[in-house]
């Protein structure tokens, strides 16, 4: 497998890709039902609403109720999908997610869009930096963070075929096509770029930056393996074991607090497996982060390609 080049790649709006994928699944499955908390249009569901008004329910801004309604609908055989700004479908209605969907084991798909700090200028109320941590704590919930447009499409397809609760997060800014080989399978990650000095394990829309960082590192004589992990929970522990055995250093990348998310999950896996590999976590600091233009914010926190490359080189220097 050769390195994936990021030059001249097509950029796509993750929300539009998501909405189109839901519509494609809904064409095949009449039970798929879309719920909106004044959020459907911004979640790419405009076409669905036009084509299937009887399967589209608008509630206005009442996310707690929508989660409960989703659960009730699912008990009658419907497959509800509810997409809104990430903190408002995870942190705000957490107890409804936990009890009505998790504990009741209902086949409901919750999607947090504009996740991480992608509503960068809107401040911490609109950032979602704990959603991996809190959703994975609900037994039986699968947590997905697809990494590029095609993977969003595949993940939507897989989430509807999966019988059980799913939380998926997608971002806001256009994302590049990473030409991830596939096929997508829940619970499986993939090596996207070979390397021998360090494994960079990434998820969600940061994987493009992780690949670009690996290319920068290559120029500095550091061979970085890039592993894409679109399923945050349950983690692909076999792949992490392989990274731990082969590179000895794992650096995790996520648009999430450095605690509680992918990095923590990878650390648990390495520790539980008894591996001596070192795990370093990159993400947002556990504070109410700054606001500002997205790219500048990510660069400020060292989560652009250059920042990631700098951190990885630094970690290698320390070992």
């Amino acid at each position: 497998m050769g390195p994936i080049a990021l030059n001249d790649v097509k950029m796509s709006d993750p929300r539009k890709v998501f909405g189109a994928a839901v519509l494609a699944s809904a064409l095949k499955n009449p039970d798929i039902t879309v719920l909106s908390a004044d959020s459907g249009g911004s979640s790419g569901h405009g076409e669905f609403k036009k084509l299937y008004p009887e399967r589209y329910y608008e509630f206005g801004i009442m996310e707690q109720c929508v989660i409960g309604v989703a659960s009730g609908l699912a008990t009658t055989g419907k497959i509800p999908v509810f997409c809104a700004i990430a903190p408002f479908v995870t942190a705000r209605p957490f107890e409804m997610f936990r009890n009505d969907i998790g504990y009741m084991r209902q086949n409901v798909k919750i999607v947090g869009r504009n996740s991480g700090v992608s509503y960068s200028d809107l401040g911490s109320t609109h950032h979602s930096l704990e959603d991996f941590a809190i959703t994975r704590m609900i037994p039986g919930v699968t947590v997905l963070a697809p990494q590029d447009p095609d993977e969003i499409t595949s993940a939507v397809d897989a989430m509807f075929l999966h019988d059980g609760p799913v939380y998926m997060r997608i971002g806001n800014d256009p994302i590049p096509d990473l030409m991830i080989p596939g096929p997508f399978a829940i619970g499986r990650g993939q090596t996207l770029r070979p390397g021998t000095d360090v494994s960079i394990v990434s998820t969600g829309n940061l994987t493009g930056a992780a690949i670009a960082a690996a290319e920068i590192l290559e120029g500095r004589g550091i061979s970085a393996r890039v592993v894409g992990m679109p399923t945050v929970h349950p983690l692909d522990r076999e792949l992490i074991a392989d990274c731990a055995q082969k590179t000895g250093l794992i650096v995790t990348i996520e648009e999430h607090y450095v605690i509680g998310g992918l990095g923590t999950i990878v650390q648990e896996s390495v520790c539980d497996g008894g591996f001596s590999a070192k795990v370093c976590k990159l993400g947002l600091p556990h504070v109410y982060v700054s606001s500002g233009p997205y790219k500048e914010l990510m660069a400020f926190y060292g989560l652009d390609a250059h920042g990631i490359a700098r951190s990885v080189a630094d970690k290698i220097g320390r070992i």
Partner: protein, 280 residues
Amino acid sequence: MSDAIKRLECRAAKCRRNILRMIRAGGAGHMGGAMSCMDIVTALYFYALYVDPLDPKKNDRDRFVLSAGHKCMAQYAALAERGFFDESLLDTYGALGTKLPGHPDMHKLPGIEANTGALGHGLAISVGMALGLRASGLKSRVFTVLGDGELPEGSNWEAVSAASHYKLSNLTAFVDVNGLQISGSTASVMNMEPIDARFEAFGWAVATIDGNDMGEIVRTLDSLPLATERPSAIIARTVKGKGLAFAEGNAAYHYWKPKEEELAEAEAELDRAIRLKEAV
């Protein structure tokens, strides 16, 4: 009083006796609210609900969601009496691994439709059920029992709005207004009166009844839906601890851990009540 009403009252007495059976097994339980809503829950399971104990997941069944999940002994009592499971299961209440936990679990016991207990959840789940059943072309109805003590939960009012917006005439919510909660009277803890006017203002059709009067409960069930294209709210004024003279209207019996003499006295009182009702 018709024979049908007398039979329902006798059932309610037997269900109340089942509650004591669970308390004897487990040593304690949320007795006060279970007793206050027992007549309503009895009328639902023995008069109103289209359910089949031999096929509890039947597609077109009516749904009953006990939003005030801590009153689950009332539901367990009625389900056992209705034949959803062997009544010997009542003796496992409070035991390790019981199918009758202190708040209901739909995956453990046939006839339970939702995992309630955290207050302010049941009505939204019921709205989803009512929407889903209607969208599936089923005539099934959804019944919910809320406690008056859970009305301050804001999530209820989100669901009250949604039910009205979607004109869910297949949804009926009983509010078991026993007027008492752990810290005292509901009016002093957080006054939600006038409950009927609040539901009306949100677009529901409302009836106020004596929720411990079987005849009135049945007449109200016969008149459902109270209006076309509107959900129905039945504000049921009840007595906490109903059926046990020493406990009636006393918030201290919200959660009851009886001494043996108290429990024996309660059992004797309900046994007498059953004998009396069987005699008439």
